[in-house]
Symmetry: C2
Subunit: 215 residues, 2 copies
Amino acid sequence: MESGGVPDVVVLRLPLYVRALSQLLAAGCEVVSSQKLGGLLQVTPAQIRKDLSYFGRFGKQGRGYNVRFLRDELKQILGLDRKWHACLVGMGFLGQAIVNYPGFAPEGFDIVAAFDSDAEMVGTTVQGLTVQPMGELDALVRGGSISVGVVAVPAAQAQEVIDKLVDAGVHGILNYAPVAPQVPTSVVIRNIDPVLSLQSMTFYLLKEAERASGR
Amino acid sequence: MESGGVPDVVVLRLPLYVRALSQLLAAGCEVVSSQKLGGLLQVTPAQIRKDLSYFGRFGKQGRGYNVRFLRDELKQILGLDRKWHACLVGMGFLGQAIVNYPGFAPEGFDIVAAFDSDAEMVGTTVQGLTVQPMGELDALVRGGSISVGVVAVPAAQAQEVIDKLVDAGVHGILNYAPVAPQVPTSVVIRNIDPVLSLQSMTFYLLKEAERASGR
DNA sequence: TAATGTGAAAACCTTCACAGCT
DNA sequence: AGCTGTGAAGGTTTTCACATTA
């Protein structure tokens, strides 16, 4: 994917920069060079400068970047200077863990509604969120300001749920189900799949083991 | 990264192929073409053929691939034809969700030990796992067959925990903490970070919103 | 002096297109 | 006839290296 002349890989790295800059700021650091920032993130200085150059000129030659300024610019570019409303579908173990995860809200991501197809689950309250029946999804998303759907249902139901979310007008999906979902090109999807991560990791663990014993 | 002439991106896609092939098999499909497999995964047929060609010749011209055979070959290449032992560090909300997640064991990933620095937590049992004090980590990993460490501690402690795991001899790390960890090149690390995923997503949501209203 | 911003070069990855096999 | 396997072409991403500026 590629948007407005900016390569996708670049957009994927920007949040990393934002986080590192926030840390630097918290540590009282006001100016940073691409070299130093790269050291923190294991990224080459040239790559950082090139990435930033897609969006403007944020540094001062001979000095580096003002940490707060660069951080705020990047947050604005990414749309992180405002709140985003999300709904969660699937309030099983995983869904509950997601709702309880304290990392979303401080970054401006608020889960404002939750749905489940299980009648047992509907009506219960988790972290101040009352679980609603799936039938309510369309009206709530269509009517409101919800732009992101978080999918935490079993694999077998995932595609169906994703279709519902897309129909209701969600433009972004964070999918925790272990499937390869199909979405229209206008919808942005991100998959969280720890098993896939492990399954590509083991390839290298095998090589490592070979090196350690034979070879 | 690049290992044995095989590009990293290729290794990242192989587990996707394995999963799709398993699904096909479950659906009773015995033969598949790169075209059909690509359709399921939103990958071009040429890419699938090229990816596979790094490891051998698995298909039959004019017919396609035997689903079971290709699946088993790929599992072997990735090291998924055996069990992998992992330990979990951090038994907070997130750690408990990870231990309860039913997706790891069926794929051969067994969490066989758990550690926490909180004295309150130590000694409790979650899903048949008794939480042990951090002091035990080194001996247990060093002595045993644990090759993967799963990190589910707060950001502030993550690097320290990762260092301990690496020192103890773990070769792979699945990190859920929102940090950019530093590890030796011999250690493979995968980060699970839903907030970063959302933060790159919003860039495109912004563009989408612009398109929808003004331009 | 010290570090940015950026064209050009190099490396890398994907797609094409077709020979060759079943 | 149909589909794989693969060199070659095309495209994208990273790195280099240096003019430029504070």
